[in-house]
């Protein structure tokens, strides 16, 4: 069958797409496969855009680099924060990686407002890709962005003499934690974008959220030295679990405060919940 030739019949296509086997029968595996394939397509779309213009990856890396180079170096000399058997730089490097994942993902939702204003979103929403795949594709692509930040942070940390754990399974764990972490915050950000709908309001809310999320976590100081009320907040902050997992996996002598399994379980569970929520809210951004 040759495409777009004069007289080519659209009937063949139409009849195949409306056949009963595709229509009424509930096929969980087909649904799951469709979900994964389309998630991958959306992530590919985003990755291609990034390849054409990777500037953002470098500008986003500046702030975490400053934290590591300046804040980290200074506080390492002060020795004001008890970090157990780790040097302060070792302790904070995973925190800064988590921070850069947070920063690159938390403003990602604005892309959906941008695409809505352009019209690209209308095209994608009118396609047969499931809405859940549209949002999980975005989440995965935030994960890819997060990984580029991880490469930069690893390079900087290695230069600063941070005692990095280079074991393959530990690295794999970092990759998974970074993707899940970026997915968490980008989905959260997408949900906000779907609710507020305009760039101005979104930027305001994004600014308001970022710093509290960062400071109310164990990124640059341990849970143990926080006042009780802050500990409560830190324990419901997903960033805490990401940092905890990264600290255990990224640093040679790093140990998690919570069981590693719990860290990953929480990250995975919130991702699934946020995908479901974002998929429900996604169509609202167009209205």
């Amino acid at each position: 069958m040759k495409p777009l030739e004069p007289g080519a019949s659209p009937v063949a296509l139409a009849s195949s797409s409306s056949s009963p086997s595709l229509r009424q029968v509930w096929q969980p595996w087909a649904v799951l496969r469709e979900m994964l394939v389309k998630t991958w397509v959306i992530a590919e779309l985003e990755a291609r855009k990034l390849r054409h213009d990777p500037t953002e990856l470098f500008t986003r890396a500046v702030q975490p680099a400053l934290w590591l180079l300046i804040f980290g170096q200074v506080f390492a000399r002060v020795r004001a924060i008890p970090t157990g058997n780790l040097s302060y730089l070792d302790f904070m490097a995973p925190g800064i990686l988590a921070q850069s994942v947070l920063f690159i993902a938390i403003f990602y939702g604005i892309s959906v407002i941008w695409e809505r204003d352009l019209g690209v979103l209308h095209k994608i929403m009118a396609s047969p890709a499931p809405r859940a795949a549209l949002v999980s594709g975005k989440a995965l692509s935030a994960g890819i962005r997060g990984l580029t930040q991880a490469v930069i942070i690893y390079a900087l940390a290695a230069l600063l003499g941070v005692d990095l754990n280079w074991q393959p399974q530990a690295l794999l764990g970092v990759v998974v934690a970074v993707i899940l972490g970026a997915a968490n915050f980008s989905l959260f950000s997408l949900i906000i974008a779907c609710l507020v709908k305009t760039r101005e309001r979104f930027m305001g809310i994004g600014q308001v959220l970022t710093m509290p999320l960062f400071f109310a976590s164990n990124a640059i100081y341990p849970l143990a030295i926080m006042p009780a009320w802050l500990q409560v907040i830190a324990k419901v902050n997903p960033l805490t679990y990401i940092v905890d997992a990264l600290r255990a996996l990224m640093i040679t002598n790093g140990t998690p405060v919570f069981p590693l399994g719990l860290d990953f379980a929480i990250m995975s569970l919130t991702t699934v919940i946020l995908v479901a929520l974002a998929a429900r809210l996604y169509p609202r951004v167009i209205v």
Binding site: P10, H52, K123, A129
Partner: protein, 265 residues
């Protein structure tokens, strides 16, 4: 009937954007929905493409209910929104590649179909340039190419020539005619350009404040108002009692239209 609406209604708060719309399109026709900004054309298209749930009433596209069978509807339609749906940060080829993947065009056919679409739309030479660098006419052609790649049964075009210069506009008209001729696609387009509707459409429906106030072949409408030599403009004024003007466009919509016009122009 390939497309049928029954009392299709959409409200935004107190505003009724589309008011009990009853439309029926025959397979293979080019149907034009006419009206000023704010008449409810775009809202109608958004409902028919499953982007917006109706407040009331129902519609079927290719036999599928837009509410209960939205996923099936999306498989058999193509949509070119009024805004810009080609991604400027990707090349023309990449835009088509992603569209092909979103619509599950089999891997074996993908490349061939993309190249055929690029050839058909005269974009082969610029396929690997970023769409950001395309002219307005080229962007529109690419958008139409990605909307017909999966050979939809119904193609929705929302103001397909807005912001285009006369040459590019005529080119788009030629392509629309060819798509109908070659693929037998039913085409529903919106426009506020009367000459566009007169030249291109088998039938037109005139929308005014959310209601369909007239619906027939352009010539039949002219006869109906007793002036067979009239322009469609006169027909329009007869049925809406209104000069063609922005009745409810408002700041936001005007800003959007101008932005699109600027990007395409």
């Amino acid at each position: 009937m390939i497309l049928q609406t029954s009392n299709l209604t959409r409200r935004y708060g107190a505003l009724i954007a589309v008011d009990h719309l009853n439309l029926a399109l025959e397979e293979g026709e080019v149907f034009g929905l006419l009206g000023p900004n704010g008449a409810g054309k775009t809202t109608t298209l958004k409902m028919l493409t499953t982007l917006l749930p109706p407040s009331d009433g129902s519609a079927t596209v290719a036999g599928f209910d837009i509410r209960r069978q939205a996923a099936q509807v999306r498989r058999v339609i193509g949509y070119v929104p009024q805004l810009i749906s080609a991604d400027g940060a990707l090349s023309g080829y990449e835009n088509l590649l992603i569209a092909a993947k979103l619509y599950d065009i089999p891997r074996a056919e993908r490349e061939q179909r993309i190249i055929a679409a690029l050839d058909f739309m005269g974009l082969r030479d610029v396929a690997h340039r970023l769409v950001r660098e395309y002219s307005g006419g080229m962007i529109r052609r690419l958008e139409i190419a990605q909307a017909i790649l999966h050979r939809p049964r119904v193609l929705f075009l929302d103001e397909p020539t807005v912001g285009l210069d006369p040459v590019a506009r005529h080119l788009v008209w030629d392509y629309i005619r060819q798509i109908r001729q070659n693929l037998g696609t039913t085409i529903l387009l919106t426009t506020h350009l009367m000459d566009e509707a007169d030249l291109l459409c088998d039938r037109v429906g005139i929308m005014h404040l959310g209601r369909l106030v007239a619906c027939d072949a352009p010539q039949a409408l002219k006869v109906a108002i007793g002036k067979p030599e009239a322009t469609l403009d006169e027909v329009f004024i007869h049925f809406t009692g209104n000069q063609l003007q922005t009745t409810m466009g408002g700041y936001r919509e005007t800003a959007r239209t101008r932005r699109v016009a600027r990007r395409l122009g």
